[in-house]
Every structure is written in C-alpha cells, then in structure tokens.
C-alpha cells in the first residue's frame, strides 16, 4: 500500500513538469505579449500611451530575455513558492489570488452542497421508481439545469432579482461592503447575492450527478445480494440505503479528484457574467490580456490541485474497494 502511494507521488513529478511546460507554451503561443495588448487597449480608447514607462516595465519583467530563459526563471520561482507578479494588477500573484480565495471557496462549497442536496433524493427516487412519471418529471427538471446556457440564465436571474427583490446587480455583496471587514450586515448581503450563482452553477452539476447516482444505483439494485436481501424480508429502506447505495458511492470517491480544482477556480463564465469577486474572472482576464505570471502560476496551482486530488481519490478508492487494489496490473 505504501509502495503504491510512494510510486504515485513519484510519478506526479514528471506529470507536473510536463504540465508546466504545456502551460508555458500555451501562454507564449498567442502572438504578442501583455504590454502590446495594454498599448492596444489604450489606443482603442483614444487615450495616450506612456511609451517610456512601458519600456521600463518590459525590462523589469525580463521581456528582453528569450522564452526559454523566462520559462526557467518562472519555474525556479514556482519551486520556491514565488508565484510571480501580475502586470495588470501590479502586485504579487499570491496576494491577488489569496484575497479572493475565501469567497471562491464559500461559493463553491455552497454550490456543491446544493448539488448534493438536490441530486441525491432525486437520483434515488429515479432509480427506485424507474419509468414512472415522477422519474421523467424530476429528470426533466434536473436536465433543465444543463440545457439552459448558464450565462444567459445568470443574466436573466440577476435582472429579475433586481426588479423583484431589489438586489443590487452583480458582485457577491452590495457595493458599500466591498473591501470592508466582515460584519453581520455584510454577511447578510453576501447571502442575498450568493443564491444566484449557486443556483446557476449548481443546477448544471445536478443533472450529471442525478444521472450517475441513478445509473449506479440501478446497477446495484439488479445484483443478487439486493434481491436476496429483499427476499429475506429486509426493510426496503435498509435494503436500499445500507447496501446498494454504499456500493454505488464508489464513483463519488473517484470524483473527488476533480472537485478540488473546481472549488478553487469555480465556474468562470458565470462568475464573469455576474462580476463575482472569485478567482475565475481573474484567470480569464489574465489569459485574455496575457498577464503571464498570473495566468501561468494560477494554472499550475490548479494542475497541482488536480494531481493531488486524483491521488487522494485513488488512494481512497484503493482503501475502500479491495477489487481495485488487487487488480489493474498489466496482463501477460
């Protein structure tokens, strides 16, 4: 077991290195760099450009060096925990991301909670009452979550929340609380604003979760031991929850790997539309303006979280399910 963990950790390193090279290439591929887009943006607005300052900044950030050199400088910084500097915001990436992490995690947790709360009962009901109208109806509702393009839904909900409830448009709280220390009023404002992104993002995840629960539970319900349990007179609730449900939760543990980076980066598109103070819009803006360090370091951070998450879920899976531990080797 320990050997397995050790081997996996060892493999993580080349994976991450490869990812870092990939990320850097992706950042470098689009023609131009941050300063050119910055100048172009100012020109588009008809404003003047202070060329001398831009030259100064270019030199400061090492844009006079070759890409390979810059890659290694960046990599070296990463290994020491220095995520680099954002050109757009003119401050260290770690500070920038750190200032938004709390709200991001809050929204993500609320979303995941909502998703599970809705998906579980619907999935179980669907599996046990297959092909009934209830099954169709609930699946339909769940599917609406992914069918409606979420950026549109976010905009519409936001508009109507303002018209009906007077909630201020966008953001995670009313403007007067931005940047202020946490208070009861601020917290209430956050709750008022949070339900829109949570619903929009959560609905999308609900449908797939419903389907997975339903499918897995159905598989388990067909199996011999369930039928035996029922035949032997076990209470139907127990026959459902105690054995088949637990076995079908396998996929949950497998899914943990993906959840970790999701929590940190969070649905980017909805966050952009609603102008939330989460890390998603930060990342997208950085990619669009080629804010190298912000985008690159953040992506690497997410990659690290994914790899760790997958490792955790594999280990957990191996713990829970002896079949996986024992099989999965190569054949002849």
């Amino acid at each position: 077991m320990l050997l397995y963990i050790f081997r996996r950790i060892l493999i993580m390193i080349p994976t991450l290195l490869l990812t870092s090279a990939l990320v850097f290439t992706i950042m470098e591929l689009p023609p131009g760099d941050y300063f050119e887009s910055y100048m172009a943006e100012l020109q588009a607005q008809g404003e003047g450009v202070d060329k001398a300052r831009i030259e100064f900044l270019k030199k400061e950030y090492g844009f006079d060096k070759s890409p390979v050199e810059r890659y290694f400088i960046w990599l070296g910084g990463l290994l020491q925990g220095d995520l680099g500097y954002s050109f757009e915001y003119q401050m260290p990436v770690s500070e920038l991301v750190g200032s938004r992490i709390f709200l991001t995690v809050l929204v993500s947790f609320a979303t995941i909670l909502l998703t599970w709360l809705i998906a579980f009962p619907i999935g179980i009901y669907s599996a046990t009452h297959q092909y009934s109208w209830g099954d169709y109806g609930l699946t339909f509702l769940g599917l609406m979550g992914i069918a409606v393009p979420n950026f549109l839904l976010a905009l519409i909900l936001m508009y109507f929340a303002n018209v009906w409830f007077g909630t201020s448009i966008g953001h995670l709280m009313a403007p007067e609380y931005l940047g202020q220390p946490m208070s009861w009023a601020k917290f209430k404002s956050i709750l008022e604003h949070m339900w829109i992104p949570v619903i929009v993002i959560g609905l999308a995840g609900t449908a797939s979760m419903i389907r997975k629960i339903r499918a897995n539970l159905l598989d388990e319900l067909q199996k011999q031991y369930t039928i035996t349990a029922k035949a032997k007179g076990l209470h139907p609730f127990k026959a459902l929850v105690k054995y088949p449900l637990r076995s079908s939760l396998n996929f949950f543990v497998g899914g943990i790997g993906g959840i970790l980076p999701e929590i940190v980066s969070g649905a980017e598109i909805v966050a952009i539309v609603l102008s939330l103070e989460t890390t998603g819009p930060l990342l997208i803006k950085a990619l669009q303006s080629q804010d190298m360090y912000l985008a690159g370091s953040f992506l690497m951070f997410l990659a690290l979280l994914t790899v760790i998450g997958v490792l955790i879920s594999d280990i957990a899976l191996a713990f829970l399910d002896p079949r996986i531990r024992l099989q999965g080797r190569s054949t002849r």
């Binding site: 689009p30 092909y131 992914i146 067909q222 980017e268 992506l299 990659a303 790899v307 190569s330 054949t331």
Partner: protein, 392 residues
C-alpha cells in the same frame, strides 16, 4: 388415488402411448412468438426495448425532424438570414390572427405603425388593425443560394407583398429572428456531430490501447489524460483559439473549433473504455481469440468493442449536447464562431445584454431550441443506454 393401485406382479403396466408420429426435434421447434424473440439479433432486441421508453422515442423523432429540416432551411425560413429591414429595427413579434373583424381570412398578421420616441430614443411599434397582410404559402420571397448549387427564391411561407412577417421579432439590424434561428440550426446541430466523432475516435483508440495492453502504455496514457484533465477547459479553449490564424475563412475556423472541442473532450470516454476493457479482457472468449491467433486490433474491434457498444452509443449521444453548449460558451467568450456565421451560440451572445433582457426579450428565443435539443439528446441517450443494457 385408488386407481393408482399397483398391478399384480408380472402383469403388464398400463401406460399411455401417443398416436402422433415421432418428431425428435419437437422441443427445438419454437412457436412464432418465441422464434421472434430468440432469433432476434442484438439490434432488434435493443430496438424493442428502446420503444418502451416513450419519451426517448419522441425525442428521437423530434431530432430526426430537426436534422432533416437542416437540409431545407432556406426553404423553411421566411427570410434570408442576412436580409435587413432598416425600417423594422427591434420590432416585437407579430401575432398571427385568423379572424379579422369576425371573418375567417386565413392566417395573417397586421401591419405595423412605427414611431420613434425622440425623448427616450425608443422605437415604438403599434399593430395597425386596418392593414392586413395575409401569409402566403409556397411563395416567392427573399432570393437565396441553395447549398451553393442553384439560386431560388421559393419559401414554404413568406410575408405578404410589402408586408412583414416577424414571428419572433427582429434584431438591431431588422433581421428576422425566426429565420436566423432556422439557419443557425444548421451550424449548431452539425458542429456537435463532427466534434463527437473526433472525440469518439480518440477515446476509443487511446482507451482501447490503455485497457488492452496495460502496463507502461496504460501508465503513459493515464498520465496524459491526467494532464489534460488538470487544465481547466476554458483557459485551454482560450489558448487554443488565440493561436488560430486570422487568415482562415470562417468555415475553416468552424471546423477548427469542432476539432478543438473534440480534442479536449475525449478523456472521459477513454477512461470509460479503459476500465471496461480492463474487466472484459479477462473473459474466456478473448483468450480463445488470442489462442486462435487474432491480432490485437481484431480482438479489440471485433470482440471487445461490441460488448460495450451500447455504452459507447449512449456516451456519444450524451456528448453531443455538451458540444452544442460548448459552442455557445465559446461564442460567449468571443472565441467561437462570429458573425456573419449564424449559430445559436452567436445569436445568444448578441443577446447577452441587459438592454435586451429588459427591452427586447424576444431576442432571447434562440435559447429555446438549444434547451429542447439538449433535452432531446439526453432523453434519447438515456433510452439508448437503457435499451442496450445487457443486464435487463
């Protein structure tokens, strides 16, 4: 029971002898109904099970109609998707009436009176009940180029001469929204197919290799999958779209987008294929095929894959809606298709505006076909998967 007294010892037993001639194969012979079931091929079985799922059947028919109508969208749409009507900018949807002043005339719309409120700069349209514009059928309307082959101007239904027929209103250049939705279907519905085909193939190949051979190949492919999955999709899209040369024509961009969508999406399928193969390759029939000298490709293609073909079909059907939604998301980010190409994603992006939600909500109607198509594909996929499930 009294008649079953044993006969006295030594005397013959009474027994029943059938008069019918002897047929050694009588057990094997099947009644007509039984024959149908037992001799039915796998596909036929699937079809019967599928028919039981009523909603899936309805979805399938709906999608079939949509895909066929793609071929004829020039005919079906009352206007050409680019035809502008400067005098009817932001016109609200016109209602179809049947009765005019108590008389049945047939389907028609009323004319519109247009006035510009200079205070609010709002265009105001009032239905003019004195002007009747009957809807014509099989008529001549906007000219178009049918599949680039020949020119024509026949439409299924079009507005009256000098009249307008904006069933879903118009946009900021006075273009009919309904026509643009119909034309948009062509791009939106097909973009998914190509992308899914690509991701399908890649998923099969990589998953198959990983699952069948195991060992180093499996390890490497697993890591590649991990690397691809660890990068969030949207940044990857942004990066890939940013490097596409601008000189490509919109059509080429369109294909490139589908390829991109396909390239990123194959990992899920590959994982599923791999896990299925890992379990199936231990089966005896695989061993038998190997002993008989079949090449790995043949084994995978001929023996293993059909075993979970059902799952593949279901995945493919379920992947198409995510492609369609992916296209709308890409358009939203400004990466995907752009005007003048019309797709539902492009239409929705143009409507992504607080002005539109508040003042001109009919521009949001392209969301409806998106929702319906995604739902239809999902139900169809569910039905297919249930039908192909060998355990039922």
């Amino acid at each position: 029971m009294t008649s079953m007294l044993l006969p006295p010892p030594g005397s013959p037993l009474e027994h029943y002898v059938s008069e019918k001639p002897f047929d050694p194969k009588s057990i094997d012979r099947l009644s007509a109904a039984q024959e149908r079931i037992y001799l039915a091929s796998q596909w036929r079985l699937m079809w019967w099970k599928f028919k039981r799922h009523r909603v899936a059947v309805v979805s399938g028919i709906f999608l079939g109609i949509l895909y066929i109508s793609i071929l004829f969208c020039e005919l079906l749409a009352p206007y050409h998707y680019q035809s502008r009507h400067i005098d009817h900018i932001y016109s609200p949807p016109q209602r179809v009436h049947l009765f005019h002043e108590g008389q049945l005339i047939g389907p028609f719309v009323y004319g519109q009176k247009y006035s510009l409120n200079m205070e609010t700069l709002k265009r105001q349209y009032e239905p003019d009940r004195s002007v009747v514009h009957p809807i014509r059928f099989f008529c001549r309307g906007d000219p178009y180029n049918f599949w680039g082959i020949f020119e024509s101007d026949v439409h299924l239904f079009c507005p009256a001469e000098n009249g307008t027929l904006f069933l879903l209103g118009t946009d900021r250049l006075g273009r009919d929204v309904l026509s643009r939705i119909i034309y948009g279907a062509r791009v939106s519905l097909t973009i998914g197919l190509i992308g899914v085909a690509i991701s399908f193939m890649l998923g099969l190949i990589f998953g198959g290799l990983a699952g069948y051979y195991g060992g180093i190949i499996d390890l490497v492919i697993q890591r590649i999958i991990e690397v691809l999955q660890s990068l969030p999709t949207i940044p990857l899209w942004l990066a890939l779209a940013a490097i596409m040369p601008v000189t490509w024509s919109p059509m080429v961009v369109y294909f490139a987008i589908t390829v991109i969508l396909g390239l990123i999406d194959w990992t899920g399928l590959a994982r599923a294929v791999r896990s299925k193969l890992l379990s199936l390759r231990e089966e005896d029939y695989v061993l038998a095929a190997q002993l008989m000298g079949a090449s790995p490709v043949r084994i995978i293609g001929r023996h293993l894959v059909p075993g979970f073909m059902s799952h593949l079909i279901a995945s493919a059907t379920l992947a198409i809606p995510s492609m369609i939604l992916g296209e709308t998301a890409l358009s939203f980010l400004g990466l995907g298709l752009r005007p003048p190409i019309t797709s539902w994603g492009v239409l929705l992006t143009e409507a992504q505006n607080i002005n539109i939600v508040a003042l001109y909500p009919w521009l949001l109607t392209p969301a409806i076909p998106v929702i319906l198509v995604v739902l239809a594909f999902n139900f169809l996929g569910d039905g297919l998967r249930d039908a192909a499930d060998p355990y039922k």
